[in-house]
C-alpha cells in the first residue's frame, strides 16, 4: 500500500537545478490512511453538493440502500424485487462514491503533508523588538506588526517576513526552498534585502523592518495554497462542470421518463435498475476525478518547487501564447566572459590588455574578473598600485566603470557609446575603426566593451555570451506547441539579433528597459494573447502583475513576489517552460477523461438497455452476449465503479504531454481516449460479466 501515491516527477529535460542537493521532502506517511478516512468523511451530502455528478450518484445510492432495506417500496410485493440484487447495486454505487472521494483525498493529502512540513517551521519564536528609543524588548513573534523593527542574530529563526534595514548575514532558507546553501542578505540591495519568516539566520546580525502582519506572511499564504484551503474552481473547471451538469440533466430526464414510456408497453423497469442506468450514463468517471485532477496539477507545480497562488494561474499556463524571457539567466548563462581584445588604431593587443586590466582591477563582477584573467594570461601587468587608486563603479546612468590613479590618469571601460562620450568630453578623438570593431563583435553575438585611457580609445573587449545548453531544443518544442518566445535584453540590436538566432527565439527586444517589458506584454495582450514572464526585481513588479502568468523568483524582492501569481523557490527562470507544460497537461487530462467518460456510455447502453427490455424484444441488442439481465446491469455498474480507481494514477500524474502540434495531439489523444473509451467498456463489462457468473453473484 505504500508505493501507490508516490507519483513520479514529470519526465522532462533536466537542467543543472536537479543536480543540486535538496533537503528531504516531506514523507507521505499515513497518506492512504488519511485518504480513506477523508473519503468517508466526504460522503457528507453538504460536501458532495458542489459536484453535480457525484451528488446525483449520492442520491441514487441513498435510494438504492433504502430499496435494499425495503425492496417493495415502489412496486409492491408482486414485482419480485430481490433484496440481494438491490444490495449488490447499492454496494457498487457506494464504491463509486468512495473511489471518487479517495481520489480527491489522495490529491489533497499530498498538499496537506507539504503544508504540515511548512507549518513546523512556523513554531512561535521570541523576537527582539526595537523600540523607538533603541531599547530592546522581548515579545512573542505573533505580537509583531507591520512596520515593527526587530533584531535577529546567528541561530535565531526570523520571526516574520521583513526587509533588511541594517547588517549583512547569511540565512538558511532551506525550509522554504529546499536549497541547503545559505543565502547572503544585506540591506539596500533589491534582491537580497528581503527575508522570509521561518528561515534561520546562520551568522552575524540583521535589523529588520517587518512587512507582514501575523498570519499574512509568505509561508502562511503558501500553507493556505498547498493545503487547498482557498481552492476555488478554475474557469475551465467551471465550464466543464456546466457541461457535466447538462449531460447529467439530460440523462436524468431520459431515465426518469423511461419508466412511463416502457410502462406503455407494460414493462416498467424497477427503480433500482433505472438508478443503475442513470449512474452508468452520467459522466461519473470525469465527475469523480475532476477535482483530483485540479489539485494534482497544483501539486505537480509544487513538486517543481513553484508555488502558484491559484489553480487559475496554473490553468492559464496551458493557454500561454507568448513567453517573455530575460536573456540573462534564462537563455544565456548568467555570466559573460571576456573572449578577446581587439585594439583599434595603432595600439597593440598588449596596450589594450594593460589598460583593460587597469580599468577592471576594482571590478568584482564576473565579467570584470574574466577581463582581469584574460589580461593576465596575455601577460599584462598593472601599471599602478591599486591601494592608492580609486575605483569607479558601474552605474546605469554612466554605463561604464574604471579606476582613477592619484596621478590623474583615468582608465575606463564601458558601453561603446558611453566611452565615445567620455573621450569627447576629455577633448579626444574617436577613431573611425572603433565602429567597425564594434560591429564586428556585435555580429558575432558578443557584447563589445570599449576601453580608453584618458582621451584615447585603445580598443574593444569582446565579451561572449554563453547560451544555455539544450535551450534551443526547448524553444523548438515551444514553437511546435504554438508558443512564441520573446527575448528581452539590454544588449544592442545586433548582438541581440545574433543571440536570438543562436538560441532560436522568435522575437527579441534589444536595449530593453523595464518599461519595454510591460509594453511588450500589453501589445501582445491587445491581440488577445496570454503572456507569461519571469522577473525578480522591484521594477519587474508592474510587468509581473500585467502578465497573465507572472513567475517571480524567490530570490527576488517582496514587491515582485506580491505581484506575481507564482513564486519559483529555486529562482530558476527556465522553469517557466516546465510550468507551461504542466498547465497543458492539466487541461489535456481533463479533456481526455471527459472524452473517455462520454464514449463509455455507448457500451453501457448496449449492456443495460437490452437487459431492461428483454420482453420488448430488445434481446438482439445484447451484442456482448451478457449472461442474464441482472448480471448485465451489475457488470456495467461494477465496471463504472472500477474505472475510477483504474484512472486515479492517470488523473494524479496527468496525461503525458508531448510537444506536438494541436492536430497531432488531438489525433493521438482521440485514438487513446476516444476510441479507447468506446472499446474498453465492451471488453471490461464482458469480462466482469464472466466473473460475476462464475461466482454466481446474481
Amino acid at each position: 500500500m505504500t508505493s501507490f501515491p508516490r507519483v513520479p516527477f514529470l519526465r522532462m529535460p533536466r537542467g543543472p537545478r536537479h543536480e543540486r542537493r535538496h533537503v528531504e521532502r516531506p514523507r507521505h506517511q499515513g497518506l492512504w490512511r488519511r485518504a480513506l478516512i477523508d473519503a468517508v468523511r466526504k460522503l457528507d451530502p453538504r460536501l458532495t453538493v458542489t459536484n453535480p455528478v457525484m451528488f446525483v450518484t449520492w442520491c441514487g445510492t441513498a435510494l438504492c440502500l433504502l430499496l435494499t432495506l425495503s425492496p417493495d417500496l415502489f412496486d409492491g410485493p408482486d414485482a419480485g424485487q430481490s433484496r440481494g440484487f438491490n444490495g449488490l447495486i447499492s454496494l457498487t454505487l457506494l464504491a463509486t462514491l468512495l473511489f471518487a472521494n479517495v481520489a480527491e483525498a489522495l490529491a489533497e493529502g499530498r498538499g496537506k503533508a507539504q503544508a504540515d512540513a511548512l507549518r513546523r517551521t512556523q513554531a512561535r519564536t521570541e523576537a527582539r523588538r526595537l523600540a523607538d528609543d533603541g531599547s530592546i524588548e522581548r515579545v512573542d513573534s505573533s505580537a509583531l506588526r507591520r512596520g515593527d523593527r526587530v533584531q535577529v542574530e546567528a541561530g535565531d529563526v526570523i520571526p516574520a517576513d521583513g526587509e533588511v534595514i541594517d547588517g549583512v548575514a547569511s540565512v538558511d532558507e532551506s525550509a522554504i526552498t529546499g536549497e541547503s546553501a545559505p543565502v547572503l542578505k544585506e540591506a539596500g540591495s533589491d534582491v537580497a534585502g528581503s527575508v522570509t519568516g521561518g528561515t534561520r539566520i546562520l551568522s552575524d546580525q540583521l535589523t529588520l523592518r517587518i512587512t507582514a502582519d501575523p498570519g499574512k506572511g509568505f509561508i502562511d499564504r503558501m500553507i493556505a495554497l498547498v493545503e487547498g484551503a482557498e481552492r476555488t474552481k478554475t474557469p475551465n473547471e467551471i465550464a466543464l462542470t456546466v457541461l457535466l451538469a447538462v449531460l447529467t440533466q439530460v440523462f436524468l430526464i431520459a431515465v426518469a421518463t423511461l419508466r412511463p414510456v416502457a410502462g406503455f408497453l407494460g414493462q416498467a423497469p424497477s427503480v433500482v435498475t433505472l438508478i443503475a442506468l442513470l449512474v452508468a450514463l452520467i459522466p461519473t468517471t470525469i465527475g469523480g476525478l475532476l477535482s483530483a485532477i485540479g489539485i494534482a496539477g497544483m501539486d505537480r507545480v509544487a513538486q517543481f518547487n513553484v508555488i502558484a497562488t491559484s489553480g487559475r494561474a496554473v490553468e492559464a499556463c496551458g493557454d500561454v501564447n507568448v513567453l517573455v524571457l530575460d536573456k540573462t539567466g534564462t537563455i544565456t548563462l548568467g555570466n559573460r566572459l571576456a573572449e578577446e581584445f581587439l585594439p583599434v588604431g595603432d595600439h597593440s593587443v598588449m596596450d589594450l590588455a594593460m589598460v583593460a586590466l587597469a580599468a577592471s582591477c576594482f571590478d568584482q563582477t564576473p565579467e570584470g574578473r574574466s577581463i582581469v584573467r584574460l589580461a593576465e594570461r596575455l601577460g599584462a601587468t598593472l601599471a599602478f598600485d591599486p591601494s592608492t587608486a580609486r575605483g569607479i563603479d558601474f552605474s546605469a546612468r554612466t554605463r561604464m566603470s574604471g579606476s582613477d590613479t592619484p596621478e590623474g590618469v583615468e582608465y575606463r571601460k564601458g558601453a561603446v557609446e558611453a566611452i565615445k562620450g567620455f573621450v569627447r568630453s576629455r577633448g579626444g578623438q574617436v577613431p573611425g575603426a572603433l565602429d567597425d570593431t564594434f560591429e564586428q563583435v556585435s555580429s558575432l553575438g558578443g557584447t563589445p566593451l570599449a576601453v580608453c585611457q584618458g582621451n584615447a580609445v585603445l580598443g574593444v573587449i569582446h565579451l561572449k555570451d554563453i547560451i544555455k545548453p539544450g535551450i534551443r531544443e526547448r524553444f523548438e518544442q515551444l514553437r511546435r506547441m504554438g508558443i512564441r518566445t520573446v527575448m528581452l535584453t539590454g544588449d544592442n540590436p545586433i548582438t541581440a539579433g545574433v543571440i536570438a538566432r543562436e538560441a532560436g527565439v522568435d522575437d527579441f527586444i534589444a536595449e530593453a528597459t523595464p518599461e519595454d517589458k510591460i509594453s511588450v506584454i500589453q501589445r501582445e495582450q491587445a491581440l488577445g494573447k496570454l503572456v507569461a514572464m519571469t522577473g525578480d526585481g522591484s521594477n519587474d513588479a508592474p510587468a509581473l502583475a500585467q502578465a497573465n502568468v507572472g513567475v517571480a523568483m524567490n530570490s527576488g524582492t517582496q514587491a515582485a513576489k506580491e505581484a506575481a501569481n507564482m513564486v519559483d523557490l529555486d529562482s530558476d527562470p527556465t522553469k517557466l517552460i516546465d510550468i507551461v507544460t504542466i498547465g497543458k497537461q492539466l487541461l489535456i487530462t481533463r479533456g481526455a477523461l471527459t472524452t473517455f467518460s462520454i464514449a463509455n456510455d455507448v457500451a453501457k447502453y448496449f449492456a443495460i438497455l437490452p437487459a431492461l427490455f428483454v420482453e420488448a424484444g430488445l434481446g438482439p441488442l445484447n451484442v456482448m452476449q451478457l449472461a442474464s439481465p441482472r448480471s448485465a446491469v451489475l457488470s456495467a455498474m461494477v465496471f463504472n465503479a472500477l474505472i475510477i480507481p483504474a484512472l486515479v494514477p492517470l488523473a494524479l500524474r496527468g496525461v503525458q504531454f508531448r510537444p506536438l502540434s494541436a492536430e497531432q495531439l488531438l489525433q493521438r489523444n482521440l485514438l487513446i481516449y476516444g476510441v479507447g473509451g468506446l472499446v474498453a467498456p465492451f471488453v471490461g463489462i464482458k469480462l466482469i460479466d464472466v466473473v460475476v457468473n462464475t461466482l454466481h453473484l446474481v
Binding site: 415502489f74 456546466v242 451538469a245
Partner: protein, 64 residues
C-alpha cells in the same frame, strides 16, 4: 463550501415541494392512495428537485 439558499427560496421551496407531493399523490393514487403511490409521488418530487438542483448548477456554477 456548503450552498446557502436565498431566504425567499428557503420559504417557497418546501411549500412547493409539499404541494407537488400532494398533487402527485392524488394523480397517482386517487382519493385512497396506496403506500406505493405515496412512495412514487415522493420519488417523483425528489427527481424534480434533483433536476431543479442541476438547473441551479448550470445557471450559477460558481455558487457550488
Amino acid at each position: 463550501m456548503p450552498m446557502r439558499l436565498p431566504p425567499l427560496l428557503r420559504f417557497w421551496l418546501p411549500l412547493l415541494a409539499v404541494v407537488t407531493i400532494l398533487g402527485l399523490v392524488h394523480a397517482l393514487g386517487g382519493d385512497h392512495p396506496s403506500a406505493q403511490s405515496i412512495a412514487m409521488a415522493l420519488l417523483l418530487t425528489g427527481t424534480i428537485a434533483l433536476a431543479g438542483y442541476l438547473f441551479a448548477v448550470i445557471a450559477q456554477p460558481e455558487r457550488f
